[in-house]
Symmetry: C2
Subunit: 406 residues, 2 copies
Amino acid sequence: MVYGSGWSDNMEEFCCHFCGKSWAQDLFRTFCRDCGEPLLCKETVGQKEIHWEQSNPLRRYIDFLPLREIFPALDLGTGDTPLLTCPSLAEQLHLPRLYAKNESQNPTGSFKDRGTLVAVQKAHQSGISRIGTVSTGNMAASTAAFGARAGLRTFVLVKEDTGKEKLLSSAAYGPRIMRVRGDYGKLFRHSYEIGINKNIYFINSVDPMRLEGYKVTAFEIYAQMSCAAPDFVFVPVSAGGHIIGLMRAFLNLREMGHIASSPTFIGIQAEGCSPIVQAYEKGLDRVERLSGADTIAQAISNPDPPGGNIVLDMIRSGGGSLLSVSDREILSAQGQLAGQEGLFVLPASATTLAGLIKYHRNNPIGPDKSCVLILTGSGLKGLSNFSGSLGALPCYELSEIEAGIE
Amino acid sequence: MVYGSGWSDNMEEFCCHFCGKSWAQDLFRTFCRDCGEPLLCKETVGQKEIHWEQSNPLRRYIDFLPLREIFPALDLGTGDTPLLTCPSLAEQLHLPRLYAKNESQNPTGSFKDRGTLVAVQKAHQSGISRIGTVSTGNMAASTAAFGARAGLRTFVLVKEDTGKEKLLSSAAYGPRIMRVRGDYGKLFRHSYEIGINKNIYFINSVDPMRLEGYKVTAFEIYAQMSCAAPDFVFVPVSAGGHIIGLMRAFLNLREMGHIASSPTFIGIQAEGCSPIVQAYEKGLDRVERLSGADTIAQAISNPDPPGGNIVLDMIRSGGGSLLSVSDREILSAQGQLAGQEGLFVLPASATTLAGLIKYHRNNPIGPDKSCVLILTGSGLKGLSNFSGSLGALPCYELSEIEAGIE
């Protein structure tokens, strides 16, 4: 990482979760100079209020966000996603207070829009004209959409072998897509050097502004539960950014006295790619990089998660837990969410239900406890991988339909 | 159509747009016995109020809907979709008051959820346990999702040659999918006989309850424009149900004195399948069925639109217009919406912008006029048809990226 050279403007206050040091840096340099960990936005001091009268979610929670001003024209209608009851699963699992926060109803169909929105607001305020991301899926589409909306030149760096279908949902918005040979983790780290040298703000998975955007989801859950925190939150874990943002939001609410205690967070990975869970179970305090990944839950398949160490620490100090689920359990949960609740989500999102079922089996959750599943992305984004194989559908003449119905 | 026999319960009040007759019938018989046209829900008498304090859209507008009670558990978070500004297109077209109502943010990614929700609420209230639809695309997925949510057995009848990709987004929810040989128009009409004989409520394109659901979109636009009607509404037209519902809503608002006049509605079809536009331009008062269809806008490709005659009459008496646009214009508009506004929609939805551009060229719209594009479905539903061909994306080594950026 190159520090002290290149483009630098609009300093922000960051801090390191581990060494506790504060750094005033620009958006292009968001890793701790001492320990190399991703930096988080520094919490501002003073009382923070929720501005209930605001219809725009960012304005409603602006006291908790690193933004001085909100430009609604940059938004596509992000947030205020439904917190749905799950009547059928609630009965089946004896968890009457089971809810799903459906983040797939965000503009580009995933939770990534939450983070992209805040990062693009910040880019706009900072006079940045070029943004980028290292991603192949949901984050690429989200960044490309908001970049197009804001009139920013947008660069999407992807692995050489990324499939055409995955790229189409980003390509629609007209970003510059560049395929890159070699290791994905190296590309992630190298992107920051490129950003500094080429004046491109790389809004990657653990970008501190992105993480702040994820906080809004948690604030909405608090509001939707009549100003209370749920007892449990189940969330898929990949690079770690999403769960860090959600946990930070509940810590914010607790610090401000809005809630007495934070929810118990259960972070879930797929067995085929579970580096953070493995470190958790081995009692390590640093995540060991995996050499590969093999799971149907592609959206959370990151063998070298940059936020992993922070997740480990926050989960341990917050009383939560991390666990992994198999592809079989994921596919089963995906089918249950669609067939019983009408919620068709990506396999990555279905890990939440699979994780709840597994956790509940080993640590029975009382019927008085409230549980929230964070559904991160729409099933429409992974149609080609969808488990529900159609098989051979019989074909009928008009006159045969009635007989075929019974 | 078989009348007077079979299952019958829970009579509803319907009326015929053409002969003006009222009919008390059940949900399984929704065509005029005299003229064969689709029936509409009979307007109730008395003052109708908007219940602004209600957060649930159906409850907010219940006075205008054929429902006595709303069961929120049957819903998936339908409605309250954003009405977005289009800053870049507004500047380009000299229409500063240009907006997009993004119906693709509904639970299954299309406007169909609006109608399905009201029909399923009615089915639930009427003790109906089986629903169905004749569709291959958005309506099938929507009906399957809400059917699954409500615990209703759901039948999806599709054409023999429907592609697997199109079926997957419905299959996810576990409905009974039946492929049927032969003519699609015949299947549509025959489905009502099947429904009567097999106790299946077919919620097809012009189902009167479905149409009432579409009214809520218009009420939201009225609310989002600070209790005013837009000057122009641009909406894709297929079977006709959507535009009929939207026009009815503004008539409701006018009758109740909420607005002085209805918007000018511009209904748009694709040139490759424009039976209603052709009848409109020929001065006919009945739509002539086409033998085939050939357009990229598959979601509005209906050569035998059951609501066509009503659309013709309502457009003529309301001062609106109907026009068709070419596939080239549609694809160009699709690219503009994504690339300039960050809105990736189906080709069918892009007809609204293509239609606005064409209409505006021939009948310049003043800069003081407000225009709303109804974006009906998410581009994620038609990825394989997406125009933005990726072409050959160059592949870079890590060390080559910076040079490649300029």
